[in-house]
Symmetry: C2
Subunit: 674 residues, 2 copies
């Protein structure tokens, strides 16, 4: 059988695409950014999936073309490189689409560019001069931490910039993982990428409460990190080492896992669930064609975007605003996961194929892990008359990937459960972003989490994209609320009644969370009626009531992150419309082609191919406990069946005792006789 | 050494208390409801705990009296029994306090009373006549499900009532656990407890949308359950049996658990945490005197109350409103837990001593379980320069108890983590409360979850009581919010700044959740300053933004559940003020002596002995998937350190690989070569 249309590009397909591109630019140098699967148009994929699910797929069945999305710079002479995007049919070895992207947009960054930034900085006279003003302690050296530049101040400036935060590292331990974030140096070099030149050094204020918003010479004390102190996290550098009394806890699955993964690593089957796992440089792991027990639930599920704006009003910290999916790509930043570190039990890892600057396929091993985990009691009932308890465990299947963006880490997981539920989990961890603060001072812009170290207040706003397929692709979104009803003789004589209000979403729109009304978003198929309840079958979620973007609506931070200003967006499906903050977020000044623009189209979405976007966030005003590495801050969106089934789908989960569990022995604790 | 003042009463202490009580009522019959530890007054316990923590406790140290709270009816002749509450010093064998509770209050119910209700029903001519109107299918018999009566309609009626829901059970399988809730019969018998008489049969409407609010003869079809169908959950009765492909997942702790429990089963020590576990008939498991690494955090933590009002406006469903802690007692309803069912790994069970009607000590084995569990990644950072990842697991210590209230189950857990956090988790499961609905009809008052079975809309509103002791008993509560600031040249030139507003709570007050402002409740000690951040040390939580009570403010449902109308209550500590809905909730008409009254005192709470109450809930509009047993609906309050420590307290957690984890083998899934 041929490759499944949702399987990632193979290494061969990747280099084939590269070779096709090169033939179109024979005399130019090409800098490849990404080559990855261009997912088929829905109109082409759906008939294929229908054949597949009906068991009628044959080697001669019609199938979508295998397409490669190729993103690359065409570098020629002294002109500013042009950024191109092409689509290549890798079987027919032909380019089927080609766009030279306008200069108003910037391509996503690559790690190669970060390397260029570091090198350019190191060689820059401007930077050398700036850094020479500081006298580092004996045995310290500086470290350059590249960052995206944030939003442009002027629309007319189409230069490609990078900025960097500067730290010092204690080299005396000879340990390259000594935590340099503990020693922030108050300058930010700015590189013009095309010129390969550091064009400006922004100086950072190091003051506290009541001090000026702008940097002054007083902020550039020679011994600027003299008051900073060590804050290590690698075990061999911890002053007291690691604790010794946490005893082993192992997860054993003597008969192996309950899941199956296809040879091509794209299809996962587990406990009546069946779905495909994709992976791309931008979104990381994606979930496709989700079915439960022979019934379709979702077409596609993905982390669409996130933005991390910092709230320090001092210049130029408004440029600290990352779009971790659009700027750098969650897939590009995915960790290569390790057995026994990132999850427990029996684990299946998925590899990916990435691309280097020359368009070579670059293996990225273990970028996704798949495992089962126990999540406590799933359901229980005790008949108090007989004393008979029936109790089942909640087992989850977890598709996890972890990304590192300089200092920060995010752990993303798609979790499937035995009761027909799907949860999308995000855990924030890693090292909070810090800047230098003068000795003894405190600040309104953050919290002093270590000596001389101010962790700035910031927000993380995430967007999950849900493309439902509730037994078909024509679905309707309902906003459902529970409302108090005033006591009255006719409908509410005792005052205990409350009313459920259900409103279909007719045209594309946004909604905010409204926990005071128990606002729920339901995605239903109005043509399929649950035979028990006589209501349309569906799935629902409660929008997470978290704080939305705080930046002033007129600010660049806000203009380029429209998606972060409402909790729920409902749009009509369009091929390729996957990114809440727009295709091009790097240095963006406005959200263009993002979810807010999609809503503005005002399309009919009732009983249509509809897409739902769920936004949630963390307003992160750091605690001292977040230093030097923060404990996970965990958020979860729960997508649950709502009259999709005719009973609890987990009712047939066995309730046998787990025979491996044990009573404590008397060595640690004993039970006196009554 | 003597018994710790927080240890539960022993069986001997219980019967001693009983014997003391009997001497005061020589000529009367006494019906004992509860005998349990009366916790010492704080003024007496604190000095003892100070001695204990300073290591200066000796057998001759002053210590609080061992006191037993005794609740009992004095039954005499033809008078209505009087309800008494006494406190007995079990060492001095003397009664030190005695109250005859006024007739405006009702004692909490006991399971003995439920038995009396069932027996009275079975013998009642009124009930027999009512039930005889229905013709049950061959092989069916009726089942009586006792319920608390809900609120009284008339202030002057001080009778003690019980009501019951009636179902039919299919006896043909000869299985006493066949699910009778699938066959609801539309009558509710009412018993006058003192008269031991069924005084009324309330008839229930069985109509649907558009039908009358009151029952008519049409609702009493002879074949009233003819259209209802089986809905089993015990595995041997499932038509298709249980699934076979969920493979074993075991948690093994080869070196035992990491916790220690004292001989008397009250003291738990784990990973720098140290606390005591209590258990009483009303609240179930309680947590006391919580310290971390030699520093005090909480004085007491408990589930205080919950209320479950039903929203069906048809008479008499406004009386379906349980206060599961105040009416029946979570401790009284606690499950006896089983190894390998209610948790995995190495488990320590705690027993309790309960009381029978004669005041005999009645052992209640395994009412609490204690175990460790893995909760995914605790913190992680990858240095992208070196590729070195340091990743630790989040381990939790869980104190769990589970209660069954007729059809419903709640799973409560106090969870301690490695990063200084404490979470209180509540999982709702069990069988939703249902009533009969005519064939083919649907309803605005609930959802048809099975044939002929309407699951009524309802709410669950919980209250957690937090008595903080942030390095001492004088603490201050702050309400902290993050607010947008309009762009301006002086303080917010780029528009990215947001402001944190901190307001101390000076006098007792309530607050609601305000996720739009990222409202956080901080409990701090203003006399203890974090040396790093220069802010007061504290713990914080985000009030859960869930819907509050919907019943009309004038309704009895609402008047008796004031606590359910705000998310956070801040009160000044008073001995014995533990119950958010008041001491006496059974048949209450108003919340008396609950948290709303405590706030009304208007006491100063800044830098005082302050108590914080956190309210959250579920508006539960049932899904078909909630039938016949609902998958857990999980809520969690996260209490987290906020500048209490000088770094992430989990930074020293080892990051070793878990060697028991395994790669999948090729039998289930294979990895093709690149």
């Amino acid at each position: 059988m041929h490759t499944h249309p949702l399987s990632q590009l193979s290494a061969l397909e990747t280099t084939t695409a590269r070779d096709v591109i090169l033939t179109y630019h024979p005399d130019k140098a090409i800098f490849f950014r990404e080559i990855y699967l261009q997912e088929p148009a829905k109109a082409e994929l759906v008939p294929y999936l229908e054949l597949e699910h009906s068991g009628n797929l044959s080697p001669t069945s019609p199938r979508p073309q295998r397409l490669a999305k190729c993103q690359y710079d065409v570098v020629g002479g002294d002109r500013v490189p042009e950024y191109h995007e092409s689509v290549v049919d890798v079987e027919r070895k032909t380019r089927i689409n080609h766009v030279v992207v306008g200069k108003e947009h910037q391509a996503s960054l690559t790690l190669d560019e970060f390397d260029i930034f570091v090198k350019t900085c190191q060689e820059s006279p401007l930077f050398k001069e700036a850094i020479s003003k500081f006298k580092l302690p004996e045995g310290f050296d500086y470290v350059i931490e590249p960052w995206p530049y944030g939003g442009r101040d002027r629309v007319t400036d189409d230069s490609r910039y990078f900025q960097g935060l500067i730290f010092a590292q204690d080299k005396r331990s000879n340990n390259p993982d000594s935590n340099f974030y503990a020693y922030p140096i108050p300058i930010i070099p700015i590189m013009d990428y095309h010129k390969r030149e550091i064009v400006r050094i922004d100086k950072l204020a190091t003051g506290g409460k009541g001090d000026s918003l702008t940097a002054s010479d007083a902020d550039f004390r020679e011994d600027v990190i003299g008051h900073c102190t060590t804050a290590e996290y690698v075990p061999e550098l911890l002053p007291k080492g690691t604790r010794k009394d946490l005893k082993e806890l192992n997860v054993l699955q003597p008969n192996g896992p309950s899941f199956k993964v296809s040879q091509d690593e794209s299809l996962v089957e587990w406990q009546k669930w069946r779905f495909r796992v994709g992976f791309n440089p931008r979104e990381g792991a994606t979930i496709h064609d989700v079915w439960y027990d022979g019934r379709s639930v979702l077409y596609r599920l993905s982390m669409s975007e996130m933005t991390v704006p910092y709230a320090d009003p001092r210049y130029p910290f408004h440029r600290k605003q990352a779009f971790d999916f659009g700027d750098g790509g969650a897939g590009n930043c995915a960790n290569n996961l390790s057995l026994g570190c990132d999850c427990l039990g029996v684990i299946k890892y998925f590899d990916a194929v990435m691309t280097d600057g020359e368009g070579n396929a670059k293996p990225a091993p273990n970028v996704i892990c798949l495992h089962e985990q126990d999540n406590g009691i799933g359901w229980k009932h005790t008949n108090w008359r007989t004393g008979r308890a029936v109790v089942t465990r909640s087992r989850e299947l977890v598709v996890q990937f972890i990304i590192t963006l300089a200092n920060y880490e995010y752990i993303f997981a798609y979790k499937f459960d035995l009761a027909g539920g799907i949860s999308v989990e995000s855990r924030a961890t890693g090292i909070v972003s810090v800047v230098n603060i003068d000795p003894g001072k405190v600040s309104e812009y953050g919290n002093v989490v270590g000596n001389g170290v101010l962790a700035q207040n910031h927000q993380h706003v995430f967007c999950i994209r849900i493309d439902p397929a509730i037994e078909g692709h024509k679905n309707t979104v309902y906003v459902e609320e529970s409302h108090a009803v005033e006591m009255n003789d006719i409908t509410n004589p005792e005052g205990n009644f409350y009313q459920i209000r259900k409103t279909p979403v007719e045209r594309s729109a946004w909604f905010d969370a409204a926990p005071e009304h128990n606002r729920i978003i339901k995605m239903v198929n109005t043509d399929k009626i649950n035979p028990i309840s006589q209501r349309p079958i569906g799935y629902k979620f409660t929008p997470m009531a978290t704080q939305l973007l705080l930046a002033d609506k007129r600010s660049i931070q806000s203009r380029r992150a429209q998606f972060a200003q409402h909790h729920v967006w409902v749009t009509k499906y369009r091929d390729g419309e996957l990114y809440a903050g727009g295709q091009y977020t790097l240095q963006s000044q406005d959200e263009i082609g993002g979810v807010s623009d999609a809503v503005k189209r005002g399309e009919t979405v009732a009983n249509e191919d509809v897409v739902v976007w769920s936004v949630f966030g963390i307003t992160h005003n750091p605690r001292v406990e977040d230093w030097p590495v923060m404990p996970v801050e965990c958020y979860q969106l729960n997508i649950r069946p709502a009259d999709f089934f005719t009973e609890n789908p987990a009712i047939d989960v066995p309730s046998m005792k787990n025979l491996a569990s044990q009573l404590v022995t008397s060595s640690c604790c004993s039970k006196p006789s009554l």
